[in-house]
């Protein structure tokens, strides 16, 4: 480079030798400066360098240099690609996004529908985790919305798209789920803010109204009825008028109802949830009409068809005009230099159907639920693996301004639900502090439970320490109180009860977190079959502790109600609470049986036939145990759960003794008794069904293994999660 520059100079500005046909601006030498040719110097310096030597500045760091981008490397330099236009203006000049989309009214309408469909596919792609710039805002009509103002239909649709994007981004930003939402919400350089977007609904409504009238008119005409009004048709082919009107109407209506879902859900304190559900139902209904319209649109042949009809991003199968995915690479939000694969239109429809179903579940939240039931609700919500948009909405609904549903502070909720008497200052100050701390932990826990399961599990492991510490502090405070109350006075007795209740609740929740941590490991496929035995063993321990805490809680409640001499109307509420306690106790008991049974089968197989036993070249089972349960061990949840204890407990397991213990049969008995309590609750009944299958199949497998003999070389046992996500089923193969 330097030598080329210098070749054109003779120490004077502008003087150039002939030769290089390349013309580029010469940087003129200044008054005090002169150009000098250093090529020979650089050449000899290069020759002087040994292999592996590097010339660098003082602050050079190899670690930092790893983040360097090599300009013009297509893998790193997003702007180097030669394809595409250099600017939006250039694309517009080249008629990439004409307004109107066609001078032929029929073609214009068809093309608008294609734009709508492609935007829909882009939107779903964005929600799935791609950048806004490479999806929805690859649309030139959105990038230059002013240009569309002469086209009422396109303009109104663009406006509501923009408003919808804003609404979704604000919910996801506010929830701060610590995921890749920074990628999701990245809108730097994109024209997202629009004046008057609050009016977008009324603009859309008027367009919808017009098309409705056009539809009425064309139907009247086909029935040879007299038309009530003189209205210009949507497009110029009377045979296609009804089809196009319908195709447009359902799309506009979907857009309107979806926007209303978002605005209703945003209403504070969950006030708009019921209304949101109505709009969700409308959205789903319009999606059905949209799907039906595909037949009509596909049949019309015009335009350029997309290569593969299955992966088409529009209902018609034609390539949409007005989009350029590479435009934003050069000047806006981070756009990784690789093509984003836009979902097909069919996939986008499925995606939105699922999203709407997840949002509907969020809206079904009863804001009168007790805290324990809120946790169950979130767990149920997470079962179909909802995406970021749905999860962010749930989190925002649950926690607003540090209050549950924006209504009540958590420390007030705790006090109320645990039946704690009003706390006064002074002596109770410390207890107040614990309750405030507990409130903070609960807020944090709720947010974590709303995150994606991978991140959620990591955080659940980390917060075990905090919960364990609080439990310990409560226990110390409680014991100190017992020690101090030598003269039992009514007030102090109550105070002790408060501390005990608080302690039990916290401990119970701590073990609940531990159980979630362990079970999510199955969902995330973190365990190999070699680890199952120790995992089920640990789960067994944790569930036992959880059961213990729940039973202590129930006993304390009963004592409480007897002491207080509860009035009749409170009995009802207590009865419900007791019933739910007893069914949750039974369920945990069921989990205990299954965990124990599975741990023992695996241990027996290992002991008798060396199956599921692995020793690596660098470490053994003890190291894997320590790693898997590291966070639990550090938090002492539970205490004394050592590898030594694991070996002791499982070292003598034999198939014959497991059969005698009958864990799976016991599980089945519990499941039978639970069916009554869960009547009417379809989610719980589904799980019961799954657990029943697990118990039955394992019971049978156990007896088969017993008959064949665990040492039989023809016997292969594998463990599959075909029925329940956390409890495996032993599958037997004989070779």
């Amino acid at each position: 480079m330097a030598s080329r520059l210098v070749q054109g100079q003779e120490g004077e500005t502008g003087g150039r030798l002939a030769d290089p046909p390349i013309s580029y601006p010469i940087i003129p030498a200044g008054e005090q400066t002169v150009w000098a040719d250093v090529s020979p110097l650089i050449a000899s310096a290069c020759n002087d360098l040994q292999d592996g030597q590097l010339i660098h500045g003082e602050n050079f760091s190899l670690f930092a240099a790893m983040s360097a981008l090599e300009i013009m490397d297509p893998k790193m330099d997003a702007g180097v690609e030669k394809c595409g236009y250099y600017s939006i203006e250039e694309a517009i000049e080249n008629n990439v996004a004409p307004v109107p989309l066609s001078l032929n009214p029929t073609l214009d309408v068809q093309r608008v529908i294609d734009v709508i469909d492609h935007l829909f596919s882009c939107e779903a792609t964005w929600y799935k985790g791609h950048t806004l710039a490479q999806t929805v805002f690859s649309c030139i009509y959105l990038l230059r919305i002013e240009r569309t103002s002469s086209h009422a239909l396109l303009h109104s649709y663009c406006r509501i798209m923009r408003a919808t994007c804003n609404a979704v981004i604000s919910v996801v930003s506010d929830s701060r789920t610590h995921e890749e939402e920074d990628l999701f919400t990245m809108a730097y350089g994109l024209p997202l803010k629009g004046e008057g977007d609050e009016k977008c609904l009324s603009i859309l409504n008027s367009v919808e109204e017009t098309i409705s009238r056009q539809l009425r008119a064309c139907k009247a005409q086909s029935l040879k009825k007299k038309q009530l009004e003189d209205i210009e048709p949507l497009q110029s082919n009377p045979d296609l008028e009804e089809g196009y009107c319908r195709a447009l109407l359902c799309r506009l209506r979907f857009r309107k109802h979806y926007y209303l879902v978002l605005t209703s859900m945003k209403k504070p304190q969950g006030k708009g949830l019921e209304l949101a559900r109505k709009h969700v139902a409308s959205c789903l209904s319009e999606l059905t009409h949209i799907t039906k319209s595909q037949e009509f649109l596909r049949a019309l042949s015009y335009g350029f068809h997309q290569d593969d009809i299955q992966s088409s991003t529009t209902a018609s199968g034609c390539r949409p005009i007005g989009f350029d995915a590479s435009l934003n690479n050069r000047f806006s939000a981070p756009t990784p230099p690789r093509a984003t694969h836009i979902l097909s239109w069919k996939e986008a429809v499925s995606y939105f159907q699922k999203l709407l179903s997840d949002l509907d579940f969020v809206c079904s939240l009863n804001t009168d639920l007790v805290l324990d039931d809120v946790f169950c609700f979130i767990v149920q919500f997470q079962k179909p693996q909802p995406d970021l948009v749905a999860r962010a909405h749930l989190q925002i609904l649950l926690i607003q301004d540090g209050k549950l549903y924006g209504k009540e502070f958590f420390h007030d909720i705790i006090s109320r639900e645990l039946g704690l008497p009003e706390l006064t200052k002074g002596k109770e100050h410390q207890k107040n502090e614990f309750i405030v701390q507990l409130g903070q932990l609960i807020i944090n826990l709720l947010k974590i439970l709303c995150a994606n399961t991978a991140w959620q599990r990591r955080k659940l492991g980390k917060i075990l320490q905090d919960w364990s510490v609080l439990s310990l502090q409560l226990e110390i405070a409680f014991k100190r109180e017992i020690g101090e109350t030598l003269n039992v006075m009514v007030d102090e007795n109550m105070s002790t009860k408060v501390s005990k209740h608080l302690l039990r609740w916290t401990e119970e929740r701590t073990y609940w977190i531990a159980s979630r941590f362990l079970m999510l490991g199955f969902e995330l496929e973190l365990y190999s079959p070699y680890d199952y035995c120790m995992v089920y063993w640990f789960m067994y321990l944790v569930f036992m502790k959880l059961l213990e805490k729940i039973q202590l809680q129930t006993a304390a409640n009963n004592e409480n109600s007897q002491r207080k001499g509860k009035k009749k109307k409170d009995h009802g509420k207590d009865q419900i609470r007791d019933a739910s306690f007893s069914s949750s106790t039974l369920l945990i008991h069921c989990y205990i049986c299954l965990s124990e049974g599975l741990a023992m089968i695996l241990a027996a197989l290992r002991n008798e036939s060396k199956a599921f036993h692995m020793v690596g070249p660098f470490n053994g089972e003890e190291e894997r145990f320590i790693q898997h349960f590291d966070l639990l061990l550090k938090a002492h949840v539970p205490e004394h759960a050592t590898y030594y204890l694991f070996k002791e407990s499982t070292g003598h397991a034999r198939i014959s003794s497991i059969i005698k213990d009958n864990c799976f049969r016991e599980a089945q008995k519990i499941i039978t008794s639970l069916r009554g309590s869960y009547a009417g609750n379809s989610d719980k009944l589904i799980e019961l069904q799954q657990l029943e299958q697990v118990a039955e199949r394992n019971r049978v497998a156990l007896s088969v293994i017993d008959q064949i003999g665990a040492r039989d070389p023809s016997l292969t046992v594998s463990f599959e999660f075909t029925h329940h996500p956390h409890f495996a089923i032993a599958v037997i193969k004989r070779s």
Binding site: G52, F63, K75, R338, A454, W455, R458, L526, P617
Partner: protein, 206 residues
């Protein structure tokens, strides 16, 4: 977060999948394993990794690893041709002295014959001898070959990383813990032998 160098294992060592006519016929004993010897090895490593990977690495990424930890990079040669490489590092990570496997590549015709396992094993052995407490790496959840390879070596899947890769695929953080050797026996003032177990709890040794 470690250096942004995800692991690629392109060798399904030990599994029964061996590519058909693309396989090279050779005896494992003909494969030579050499520790990184200098600049002349760098283009070989870069060539292999660039060829097999879509992740962009600048030359500085390679230099970072091989300059600072040349003893952790190994190359596999067959008849003078470089057919595989492993690139690793060691460092302090949250009070743990930890090895990290950054890149692992074996070219297609040589896969399924244990070359990747051998490369990784050598690197891990050096880490162990250097006093590392554990070894870590990331692998795509869909990379069955890598997961099987590391699983056999004793790695567990410590974490799942949601949408870790730009194509939206999740990753597992794989970790191997070396047996703890800090059971240093000491005697308390009463002459009773004490012993610290791996959780830092002091116990009496009978």
């Amino acid at each position: 977060m470690e250096a942004a160098a995800p692991v690629v294992v392109v060798d399904a060592a030990g599994t029964t999948e061996v590519e058909g006519e693309e396989s090279e016929v050779f005896s494992p004993s003909d494969v030579e394993y050499i520790s990184y010897g200098g600049e002349h090895h760098l283009p070989l490593i870069m060539g292999l990794v660039d060829q097999e990977l879509s992740e962009p690495y600048s030359i500085f990424t390679y230099r970072y690893f091989v300059y600072l930890w040349p003893n952790l990079t190994f190359l596999a040669f067959h008849r003078g041709r470089c057919v595989g490489t492993v690139v690793s590092k060691i460092g302090e990570h949250r009070n743990t002295f930890r090895g990290y496997i950054a890149m692992l590549v074996v070219i297609k015709p040589y896969r399924g014959r244990g070359i990747a396992t051998e490369l990784v094993t050598r690197s891990i052995r050096v880490m162990m001898e250097s006093g590392c407490e554990e070894v870590a790496l990331e692998a795509e959840v869909t990379n069955k070959g890598a997961l099987a390879l590391y699983g056999r070596l004793g790695f567990i899947r410590a974490k799942r990383l949601y949408r870790y890769y730009l194509n939206g695929v999740d990753a597992f953080r794989l970790k191997l813990l070396f047996p703890q050797w800090h059971h240093s026996p000491t005697t308390n003032k009463d002459g009773v032998h004490l012993h610290d177990n791996q959780y830092g709890e002091t116990q009496i040794v009978p």
